[in-house]
Symmetry: C2
């Protein structure tokens, strides 16, 4: 079994992006990071994105509307950022407070600055195999992890567990694309799937993205499979200072011995998501110059 080291691969990408930004003529790329309220996980994610941006030479502009912000106010903020020629990318940190329609907010971001890849048009471009859009960061990170680990999906059976808009569906569409590295046979399972273990056992590559701690057990995995664990679940753990530990959607200790390759949590898909956000932001800056 070989561990897929997301931290190392993300660090490689960040190094490449840093060189790309250093070579840029004119102003540095600018990423607007919008965080509404003080959800602890959001605070930590946005801080991490800010730090990585700084490391690369991307100008991270953090904007902190209060938790009481209305949807209209948030729309007005996004419209302003859409129109601001100094801003290349806009990220609105999920989750938003319950009084706000999250999907409507994501869609408000203009496709050209939608570095999170949540806009309807950008998802449509993934489905149409049109590379002119932005791919959502987590699915893009999964594909990059596989590519840089030497896993070619061609003809392989890729089983995606979870049909979310931001991971399951786009990663399924990416794995299916008719291009080098992809070209997989793709199955998407979810809460309504019957006899799930029989289906996940078909997987040459299993991508777990359902947000249920240690859901994937050894009996669900074919020996020799590649397992990508997208889950980042906080499980109470009184033995830790923080009071919790992070665990994936995969029962790592029992599944890992079966796999040919597996991603750990933390240190697998997580760091790739941030790296892909930065790649999209740098790309957005380059496209704006070219346009």
């Amino acid at each position: 079994m070989e561990l897929i080291d997301g931290n190392r691969i993300a660090a490689d990408i960040i190094k490449e992006l840093k060189a790309k930004v250093a070579a840029l003529k004119g102003r540095k790329p600018c990423l607007a990071l919008v965080r509404v309220g003080d959800d602890p996980a959001s605070v930590s994610y946005v801080r991490k994105k800010e730090q990585t941006a700084a490391e690369i030479g991307v100008d991270g502009r953090v904007i902190l509307p209060p938790v009481s912000t209305t949807q209209e106010e948030l729309f007005a903020l996004i419209d302003q950022l859409n129109a601001d020629s100094g801003v290349d990318g806009i990220l609105v940190q999920s989750p938003l407070p319950p009084h706000i329609d999250e999907l409507a907010v994501f869609r408000r971001v203009t496709p050209e600055k939608d570095v999170d890849g949540f806009n309807t048009l950008n998802l449509g471009k993934v489905a149409q195999e049109d590379p002119s859009g932005f791919v959502a960061c987590t699915p893009a990170g999964i594909m990059e992890l596989l590519a840089r680990s030497g896993v070619d999906l061609k003809g392989k059976h890729v089983v995606v567990l979870g049909r979310s808009l931001i991971v399951g569906k786009p990663v399924a569409l990416l794995a299916l694309q008719k291009r080098a590295g992809a070209n997989g046979t793709v199955t998407i399972c979810h809460s309504a799937t019957r006899d799930l273990p029989a289906i996940t056992r078909l997987a040459d590559v299993l991508i777990a993205a359902i947000g249920r701690p240690e859901f994937v057990t050894a009996d669900m995995v074919k020996p020799g499979a590649v397992v990508i664990d997208v889950g980042i679940n906080r499980v109470p753990d009184p033995s830790r200072k923080t009071g919790y530990r992070l665990t994936g959607d995969v029962a790592f200790s029992q599944v890992a011995p079966l796999c040919s390759r597996i991603t750990p949590v933390p240190g697998g898909v997580g760091p790739m998501t941030v790296a892909m956000l930065m790649r999209n932001t740098v790309e957005a800056r380059l496209r704006r110059t070219a346009a």
Copy 2:
């Protein structure tokens, strides 16, 4: 084995639409039908669409640019139809001559008049489970055939053979949606799939959309499966006046006895595609009134 009668189901829908149009206040819905050149299949498809429109009370406006039309001229025509307040829906008949970028032309149609459902934004809406767009006619027709035949996909394994933009991918995304009638576990296979018969034999519902005559044979089908044959292939047949006969992607005579339900070719999915085009056109007209 029960035959799914697309002609009968399409006729029911056309009757419903006729009543809907008769009850409409103000002008009738208008569908622009653009056919470039004289491809014989295109001529016959556009004629059928025009006839069906007339039957329902939809004003079908046929526009026939010559085969020498440039991409720019076609764009200009579409821009004019997009801007024309008397036009509710625009259909550009495929295939276009080889000097024209077909996908670019389809995308040029404004999403609000894209009754063919080929626009990137409308495909993105299918992926995002947003019903405010238009679903491509063939996949919409397949879902309607299943619904009106009492086939609920919930928890069933739906295997889609073919990953085209206009059938395979959208029907996979529709079957996967979290709503009544859908909610299937979905597998998408294609030319790079290994051991295809083993995968198609998993199907409770098999949707064949690859455009290869009689490709699906009895060994590829699980007994009791529902089989939807999307293929409309012209096979040379000197015994016929026309010189050809139509056949599906399924070897009907050997597969049909195995199935619980199957669509014939012709008379299965084909008529549904036209019915769904009409439904989208009437819907486009209604949305324009409401807006």
